[in-house]
C-alpha cells in the first residue's frame, strides 16, 4: 500500500522531466527558426508599414501597384506557373514511367539519386551551367551550330529570357516532382487496378475513376510547391539574367543593394508580397497533401 502511494506520487514528476530532455533536442531548430525566419519576417512586416524615418505609412504597400512592380510580380508569377506546370507534367510522366512502367530494375535507384542531386542544384552554379551550355557562346549552342548546322539563337531563343529562365528552373523542378510524386505513385495498389479490371473497367476508366482522383491532391499540392520553389529562387535568376529580366526577386535585390532604386522599406513591402504568395501556395500544398495521405494510409 505504501509502495503504491509512493509510485503514484513519483509518476507526475517523472513525466515532465522526460519531456524536457526531448525538447532539448529541438532547441537548436527553434533558435534557428526564430533567428532566421520569424524575426526577419516580423522585421519585414513592420518595415513594410514604415517610412524611412520609422513612421507608420501605407505608402510602400500602395507603391506595389506601380506598373513596374506589378509587372515584375506578373512575370514572376508567369515564370513560376510555367515552370511549375511543365515540371509537374514532365515529372509526373517520368515518375509514372519509372514506378508503373515495368522498366529495368536498376533504372529507379539511378534516377532517384540523380533527382536527389538535381533538385538541389540551383543558384549560381546552375545559372553558370546553363550559360556555359545554352548561352550565346555555350558549348551546346556551338556544337549545334558547327556540327548539326542548327543555329539555336537564330530561332529567337535566348537563355536570358522568360523561356530560358523557365527552362533553367525545370532543371530542379522536374526532379523535385519525381521525388515527391514517386511515393504517391507507389501508394497506388496493384489490387485497385485489378479490382477495377474485373469489374469491367478499361485501363483508361481505371485511371479516370481511381488513379487520377487518388493522385490528384498530391499532384496539385506538389505543383504548388514547385510554384513556391521557383517564385523564391533569386540566386538562379540573378545569376542567369543579371538585372535584364524584370522579376520580383531581382527588383527586391535591387532595393536592398543600394543602387539608384535604393529604398529598403519598399524592399520590405516587396518581400512581404512574396511571403504572402509563397505562404498561400505552401498552405494549400500542406492542406492538399494531408488530403492525399488520408487515402494512402
Amino acid at each position: 500500500m505504501a509502495q503504491m502511494q509512493l509510485d503514484a506520487a513519483a509518476l507526475p514528476l517523472a513525466q515532465p522531466r522526460r519531456m524536457s530532455f526531448a525538447f532539448l533536442g529541438v532547441v537548436p531548430f527553434f533558435v534557428f527558426a526564430v533567428m532566421f525566419l520569424l524575426w526577419p519576417t516580423a522585421f519585414l512586416m513592420v518595415g513594410s508599414f514604415q517610412d524611412a524615418d520609422g513612421h507608420f505609412t501605407l505608402e510602400n504597400i500602395y507603391r506595389l501597384s506601380e506598373p513596374t512592380i506589378l509587372n515584375a510580380y506578373k512575370i514572376s508569377i508567369e515564370i513560376s506557373v510555367a515552370s511549375a506546370l511543365l515540371g509537374a507534367i514532365f515529372g509526373f510522366f517520368l515518375a509514372a514511367a519509372v514506378v508503373l512502367g515495368g522498366l529495368p530494375r536498376w533504372l529507379r535507384p539511378t534516377l532517384m539519386t540523380f533527382c536527389g542531386v538535381a533538385s538541389n542544384f540551383a543558384g549560381l552554379p546552375l545559372a553558370f551551367a546553363f550559360l556555359a551550355t545554352l548561352g550565346r557562346t555555350g558549348l551546346v549552342t556551338l556544337l549545334l551550330r558547327d556540327f548539326v548546322g542548327f543555329d539555336l539563337y537564330a530561332t529567337g531563343f535566348n537563355v536570358l529570357s522568360f523561356t530560358g529562365l523557365t527552362l533553367t528552373y525545370l532543371y530542379f523542378q522536374i526532379p523535385l516532382m519525381v521525388l515527391i510524386l514517386t511515393p504517391a505513385l507507389d501508394g497506388l495498389k496493384r489490387e485497385w487496378r485489378e479490382a477495377a479490371e474485373v469489374l469491367g473497367a478499361t485501363s483508361w476508366q481505371y485511371w479516370r475513376h481511381v488513379a487520377i482522383p487518388v493522385l490528384w491532391p498530391s499532384f496539385l499540392g506538389t505543383t504548388l510547391l514547385l510554384f513556391a520553389n521557383s517564385f523564391g529562387a533569386v540566386a538562379t535568376a540573378y545569376g542567369l539574367t543579371g538585372s535584364s529580366l524584370n522579376i520580383v526577386p531581382i527588383l527586391l535585390y535591387a532595393q536592398s543593394r543600394g543602387d539608384v532604386l535604393h529604398n529598403p522599406n519598399l524592399g520590405y513591402a516587396l518581400a512581404l508580397g512574396m511571403i504572402v504568395i509563397t505562404g498561400l501556395s505552401n498552405g494549400a500544398y500542406i492542406w492538399l497533401r494531408a488530403r492525399g495521405e488520408r487515402w494512402l494510409k
Binding site: E194, V198, V214
Partner: protein
C-alpha cells in the same frame, strides 16, 4: 459439360514452375477451395482464371467458352482480394456501384441494386462512409458486395479472411458461405487454412508445389488422405510407419505389432515401409475387442485441453495421439503407465509412396 473446366493448366516463370498438370471440372454453383502451403501456386492458378496471368499451356473454359486470351474485363468475374482493395476515393455505395456504372446501367437500376447489396452484407447504414472509416471486416464485406453487384458468373476469392482476426474470420466465413448458397454462384476460394477449407467447401483441391495433391470432398480429404502431404497438412493426424506384411490381406507391422486394414494395399510389395494415417478421435484407450486392432505401449504425455484430454502413447518408434473426453468419473492415466490403444481397421489409411 461442367461449368468451369481447367485442363492441363501450366504456368512457368522462366525456369521456375508455378503451376503444372492442373485439371479440374467444377459444377455450376459449387464452392471449391484451393488449399495448400505458401508458394504452392494457389494464387497463380486463380489469377489465370481471372485473366491477370496468361497460362503457359492448357485451357480454361467458363460455361463452355474458352477464356484464355480474354482480358479480365471480358470474363464477367467477381473477385475479392486479401487486402480488400476498395477504391479509397469512393464511398461504400460508390464502390459497390462501380461495376454497374462502368457497364452504363441506368441510375434507376443502380440505386436499388446498391441498397440491396448493402442490405445483403448487413451494412445498410454505411453507404456514405469512405473505406478508411471502416473496420477490416466491414471493408471485406463491402468488397464482397462490390464483386457480386454485377451478378458475375464466377466468384474468385484470394485469402479474403487472412488479414482479419480470428473471431471475425469465423463469422464472416459462414456469412460468405450462406451468401454463396443463396446466390448459387460458382466460387473458387483460396486459403492456406485447412479448417476454413474443410468448413466451407463442397470440394477441396489440396495443392503442393504447383500440382494437385488430392481433390475431394472435405470428408474424403480429412478421412481418406491419399498422400503423406495431405494427411499432415489437413489435420492433426497420427502418421505411423509400418512394414507391409501381406498386401493382399491388408496386414502391416508397426513397431513389431501386426495390425489389420479393411482393404488391400494397392501397389505394395511385402517388406516395403509405408506411412499409415490414423485420426486421433478414432483411437480409444483400453479394452481390446476382436473387431479392433490393439497396440501395447507406454503413456508418454497427458495434456488437458479443457473438455478433452489429449494423450500420447509411445511404442518403439511410433507415437499415437488420442483424444478422450475429460470426465471426473474416470481420471486419465499417468505418464509411464503401460496402456493398450485400439482402433478399427476401417480407420487406417495407407498413404501413397514408399517411405525411405
Amino acid at each position: 459439360m461442367k461449368f468451369l473446366e481447367i485442363e492441363n493448366l501450366r504456368k512457368v516463370y522462366g525456369a521456375q514452375v508455378g503451376v503444372q498438370h492442373f485439371d479440374i471440372a467444377v459444377e455450376r454453383g459449387e464452392f471449391i477451395s484451393f488449399l495448400g502451403p505458401s508458394g504452392c501456386g494457389k494464387t497463380t492458378t486463380l489469377r489465370m482464371v481471372a485473366g491477370f496471368e496468361q497460362p503457359s499451356a492448357g485451357s480454361i473454359r467458363i460455361d463452355g467458352r474458352d477464356v484464355v486470351g480474354l482480358r479480365p474485363n471480358q470474363r464477367n468475374i467477381g473477385m475479392v482480394f486479401q487486402s480488400y482493395a476498395l477504391f479509397p476515393n469512393m464511398t461504400v455505395a460508390q464502390n459497390v456501384a462501380f461495376g454497374l456504372k462502368i457497364a452504363k446501367r441506368p441510375d434507376a437500376e443502380i440505386k436499388p441494386r446498391v441498397a440491396e447489396m448493402l442490405q445483403m452484407i448487413k451494412l445498410p447504414q454505411l453507404g456514405d462512409r469512405f473505406p478508411y472509416q471502416l473496420s477490416g471486416g466491414q471493408q471485406q464485406r463491402v468488397a464482397l458486395a462490390r464483386a457480386l453487384a454485377g451478378s458475375p458468373q464466377l466468384l474468385l476469392l484470394d485469402e479474403p479472411l487472412s488479414a482479419l482476426d480470428a473471431k471475425i474470420r469465423a463469422s464472416l466465413r459462414s456469412e460468405i458461405r450462406d451468401l454463396q448458397r443463396k446466390l448459387g454462384i460458382t466460387t473458387i476460394y483460396v486459403t492456406h487454412d485447412q479448417e476454413e477449407a474443410l468448413a466451407m467447401s463442397d470440394r477441396i483441391v489440396v495443392m503442393s508445389e504447383g500440382r494437385i495433391e488430392q481433390l475431394g470432398t472435405p470428408f474424403e480429404i480429412y478421412n481418406r488422405p491419399r498422400t503423406r502431404f495431405v494427411a499432415s497438412f489437413v489435420g492433426t493426424l497420427n502418421i505411423l510407419r509400418g512394414k507391409v506384411i501381406d498386401p493382399a490381406k491388408g496386414v502391416v507391422r508397426v513397431d513389431e505389432q501386426d495390425i489389420r486394414l479393411d482393404q488391400q494395399i494397392p501397389n505394395a510389395a511385402p517388406g516395403e515401409m509405408r506411412a499409415i494415417a490414423l485420426r486421433p478421435e478414432a483411437v480409444t484407450l483400453g479394452e481390446t475387442r476382436p473387431d479392433r486392432n490393439a497396440m501395447k505401449g507406454t503413456i508418454e504425455e497427458v495434456s488437458f485441453l479443457g473438455a478433452i484430454v489429449r494423450i500420447k502413447v509411445r511404442f518403439k518408434d511410433n507415437l499415437i495421439s488420442l483424444d478422450t473426453f475429460n470426465s471426473s468419473a474416470s481420471p486419465p492415466p499417468r505418464r509411464g503407465d503401460s496402456a493398450t490403444v485400439t482402433f478399427a481397421p476401417a480407420d487406417l489409411q495407407v498413404l501413397e509412396g514408399v517411405e525411405g
